[in-house]
Amino acid sequence: MTEVVIAGVGMHEFGRYNDKDYRTLGSVAAQRALKDANMNMKDVQAAFCANVYEVSASGHNVLERLGLPGIPIVNVENACASGASAVRLAYQAIKSGQYDIVLAVGFEKSPRGFLHGAGYDHWQESTGLGANPLYFALNIHEHMVKYGTTKEQLAHIAYKSHKHAVHNRYAMFRKELSVEEILQARMVCDPLTLYMLCAPNDGGAAAVICNKETAERFTQNYVTIAASVLETRRRRDMFVPAVSAPAQASYPFLAERAAQSAYKMAGLGPEDIDVAEIQDVDAGSEIIYSESLGFCPIGEGGPRALAGETSLGGRIPINVSGGILSRGEPVGASSLGQIAEITWQLRGEAGPNQVQGAKVALSHSEGAGGNSCVTILVK
């Protein structure tokens, strides 16, 4: 059975770069990943490129900067899960024996402010229902009502994120914030304040996916993809851009289904995960997804986080890179950024945010349309 590995990863720092276009953001990330794998574009046999906001042939225009080997290039758009969807296509192409070396690269130069174009119908947008943060706010509010999750727990998630991000050169926000500052910041969608929501920004991230034998010709510093899963919204998932769902819908919801598939594929369980990057597009989502992914019982995500279980040094460190809350979200690049971060964790290269002895790591992304990707890497 083909073992599929990540031979190299690279990121362009996430932030706001008025003087750089998406070509630069993407090609810098791709080149860093190729260099990390001791390769160049000539070694690559196919490429999957993840982007949301450019119109046409964006991956072609990014990779052209690094050479024109004439390989098949396909642009992929799956909202926040675009990058991980590209990784999954690369994984499948290697697994099936179609190729030996595939590049996955994500890049975005996000428009400023609320993201548009998430697939809402006109009437949803014009009447005020077409805004992603509204879904995040409603989901966590229901969680607060049902399980007693508190605003202080939400603030703690943002506090933890910013505290960790101080040490991450790839993060946009690298200043520690107090719980008070977070709670007193402008309210965007109750109960989520400005610092509890991620900011769309600019950046790039890439991974070189290979079969193990081929990777070993270039580098010994690879990690294995144990699972790569993409699942899409079902009726019971009240997720962007759904207007209705069955009452008293029972689990599993989208992220839980994706996680269950990934655990099955990897032959592992949540108890085996040493470090995770999950879709903290807002503080509430980190709490909810930490439960959906099986890291704690449903309803206990808030108290467990507050008790330090998900901080660096805790039982299951989550988003110790600073996560999306601190990195910001260049949509097409975001989930590939997670995969770069957990690759560094498994390689012991995460610096001050290193989770000691990390051997199994998980990345989870989830976005508009109802896409959920779970990727599990092992050392």
């Binding site: 006109h122 014009s126 005020g128 309210m187 009726r235 209705s244 069955p246």
Partner: protein, 135 residues
Amino acid sequence: MEGLVKVPVKDGLFQFTSPSPMLIVSCCSACGELVFPKQDYCPECCTDTMEEKTISSLGKLVCFTGITSPPPGFKGEVPYTVGIVEFPEGIRILGVMTEKNIDRLIPGMDIEIVMDTAFIEDEKEYLTYKFKPVQ
């Protein structure tokens, strides 16, 4: 807003000319699944087994949020509130609420569906369904 022509923000979302406004849903004749807005195919069965129905105008508020900055494409006025209401027929629906802020909203409270102005454009009053706390 007297004198303005009243039009729905989208055809087929609700009945607004009858005395009590009602949301229009689709109900699957095979599995019973309810969907709002109405659609031709059942999300569960994936077959065109849907029948049009209206649902009760009373439900319970599950959760809510308040919004102060206009999202992209929004033509109404801020601040406003949005909630999810669960109806006795077995469906949860997302909608704008009549309250401008969340101060008086309580999870579990009784909600009725009303017709209200979504926005005014080209001298037309666009109507949408809203969730109103039952006094």
